[in-house]
Symmetry: C2
Subunit: 457 residues, 2 copies
């Protein structure tokens, strides 16, 4: 059997063209390539007993290479044993949906100027929806072509700043992004929307919240939990809500615009320092933590829910503090935690750390003792809670008071992710002496001092 | 002014007795001690202009020592400037509420045997409710005296195993606790309830879930978000629900029993591997993640919500696997993450790691490359999501597929904390070769394979 296959492969070798056979290896990969078949192609496969028509799916599992996976018209996937395949026939070649950048119609007179800055992520990706794979591909101008309604509300420019997965975003990207936004606003743009991968959008929103001081307009980050070219995509509605908010909202600052719930058209506007991705896949993955959304967008209307936000308008104090210190870390405490992990960071030149303690902000005795020494040596230690919801309080138990005495900074109801970004920003832009005080000050609504309903007994 | 104070202090020095002046320092501390006044005492303080009656509160903040803090009868705290104090008078000395261990009435005939194993934590602590400080103090038999109703449903023994804050619980405690439980069940106990500090109760519940294999009865962990001797304590209702469940529930395994909501008497029973403390202070801090509670207790009735759980009854296979490997870690990925943190762990002899990736389970390129090398060297890397809710999927993006190819184990919807405990347990009890397969197998309901409502688009 194997010799027969090998002969076939040799026969077909010359016809090989570039097709996506990712995941397949060895003989099966060669077999597919020989037949000029790749992922996404619709094929008819015959075995001794059966015949299957379906879409070739990349074999993602690192396990067995003995099966060709097909997605059947009913939606189910089946594995066809390679050794039993008698023939394979290409029925329909796969072509991913194309989004040629379209030039917008001539700008309408009187419309405000706005920009969409693209950094990558699912909102700027096209899915191969036969195979389920997603690749970053769409540019900001592609997005415009997908959402032509935007042309009716503003003269929209598109700026493709990065095209990376958001897990690869880092301090220097935040610096560049904040500088870019600063320049657009200085040039007179009335709306700024940043498309961002959802994975680290919460971190980026916090970074911009601190880097951009007293912005005259609201800056909106927007992502998508569904690729822009999928029928169920949330990209368009998220994007329109973000643009309308940036252009028209009465408040300023940095916000995230995402679906409020799985099934409807309501979009929540979240404070950039109080928002977190709380689900791997739901459309409404983003939630305001320890506060509520500031506004809800529905059917073209923005319903503002809070009146204590900084006001939109000309700001004489609009400034930028775009630096971030890289030698900071975010560490989650767990039972049996070995503080030498933190000591190693200090030895590597790290300047500070945000801890996710348990409950009200606790760590074990060994770690507490180690932190005391490090703090004496100038290391900055901030405490948040791995509970996510609620408020760190180091005054309830005597172990917490020990940490306070040692100089651990209790960050109240601040999100661990926001605290990590803030520490990086403080150390990047200001003198070491100011950092402790700044960490405990409310700079960009990262603290919610109002009594929380949840805390009433 | 200072000299005058100093003279006073010297005068009073001989009268000094031991009082709790924690938090106060220097002259103010000496002043309080000189007047034989400590936290919790009710005093009358006179200044030039005013007179205040209130309870002395420890000064927890590491900031100014210029103020004496009093809790006024109306519940508010005020700071009285030290330099303005003319006189202070002790009105009523503070005595913490006492709970003398009471012997239960003679066991009632026919009642099943049960045990409450106490490990410490808030449920086994008494609060000084004038000052708000909490100390671990109550033993299991104290708890029985607080909740005498337990004597009507079982012959309850009390076992004070540990008396520590739960952030100090570690692998060896889990081993001892599981051995203790195993022995009680082998001796014929029909109910086992473990009182535990809430901070790490989720981790401990996971540890027992894996260590105790095919238990004939359900083992209930129970904590309290309010000290047992506070009027608003949830300790009694949580404890009764736990005991009734352990004695009567038709299922076996390890569960956590905590309030379902802030205000009512409904107690949720959560799967021990799928439960997480999700709020620092609310009564209903514990939530089932990626699944629902298995039962709800109300007014003496246990309403079972699932029928797919292991059945209660005599188990011939009841076994214990009580070991835990200490050289495992739980690391949260963040933007700019430096993989040398993980490489250091490997060099320190760590055997494996659970990562909290972003979104569907991602890390940056640098970290992915580092993980590939470590895995080749035998290091075990498991992927969970820092989103908490949802399911890790490494097949959606090509970066995820790279991780899969490298041998990263995707742990689906398993909680990061449960994954950490499971990895420690797998490495502690089984051969290295079996660990990868075991991590991907459903051993104690740590995976929920049923389609989640949230995942439907």
């Amino acid at each position: 059997m194997f010799t027969k296959r090998l002969n076939q492969l040799l026969l077909y070798a010359t016809r090989r063209i570039l097709k996506d056979t990712s995941g397949y290896k060895g003989a099966l990969k060669a077999f597919l390539e020989a037949h000029n078949i790749g992922a996404g192609d619709i094929v008819v496969v015959k075995t001794d007993k059966d015949e299957y028509k379906g879409t070739v799916i990349p074999r993602y599992e690192y396990a067995s290479q003995d099966f060709l996976t097909l997605k059947l018209p009913n939606g189910y996937n089946i594995g066809v044993e390679f050794n039993k395949i008698r023939s394979i026939k290409l029925v329909e070649e796969h072509a991913p949906p194309a989004f040629a950048p379209q030039h917008l119609t001539a700008p309408k007179k009187g419309l405000p100027k706005a920009v969409i800055i693209s950094t990558g992520g699912t909102i700027a990706s096209r899915v191969d929806y036969r195979t389920g794979g997603v690749r970053p591909a769409l540019s900001a101008s592609d997005l415009l072509s997908v959402v032509p309604e935007l042309g009716d509300i503003a003269q929209v420019d598109a700026d493709l700043l990065f095209s990376i997965y958001s897990e690869n975003m880092t301090f220097s990207h935040w610096s560049k992004l904040s500088e870019r936004i600063y320049n657009y606003i200085k040039e007179g743009y009335n709306g700024v929307v940043v498309t961002h991968g959802t994975d680290t959008m919460g971190y980026a929103a916090a970074a911009l919240s601190f880097a951009l001081h007293k912005t005259p307009i609201p800056i909106l980050l927007v992502g998508s939990q569904r690729s822009s070219d999928r029928p169920s995509s949330d990209a368009a509605s998220n994007l329109i809500a973000a643009m309308v908010t940036s252009l028209k909202a009465p408040f300023s600052g940095v916000y995230v615009s995402m679906h409020e719930w799985v099934s409807d058209e309501r979009i929540s506007i979240h404070v950039g320092t109080k928002v977190r991705k709380l689900h791997t896949s739901r459309r409404d993955a983003f939630k305001s933590i320890n506060t509520s959304p500031v506004a809800v967008y529905k059917d073209g209307e923005l319903n503002v829910l809070r009146n204590d936000l900084p006001k939109r308008g000309v700001s004489d104090d609009f400034r930028i503090f775009p630096k971030f210190e890289e030698k900071v870390s975010l560490i989650k405490f767990y039972p049996g935690f070995d503080p030498s992990i933190i000591e190693s960071l200090y030895q590597k030149g790290y300047k500070g750390l945000v801890l996710e303690g348990t409950g009200l902000g606790h760590v074990n005795k060994l770690t507490a003792d180690s932190l005391k020494k490090l703090i004496r040596d100038g290391f900055i230690v901030c405490m948040t809670s791995q509970c996510i919801y609620g408020r760190v309080r180091l005054t309830v138990y005597d172990t917490g008071r020990d940490l306070l005495d040692a100089g651990v900074l209790p960050l109240e109801d601040m999100l661990p992710e926001t605290a990590f970004v803030k520490l990086s920003w403080c150390l990047g832009n200001f003198e070491r002496e100011e950092v402790s005080k700044m960490m405990r000050s409310n700079i960009a609504n990262e603290y919610n001092s109002r009594l929380l309903l949840e805390e009433v007994e």
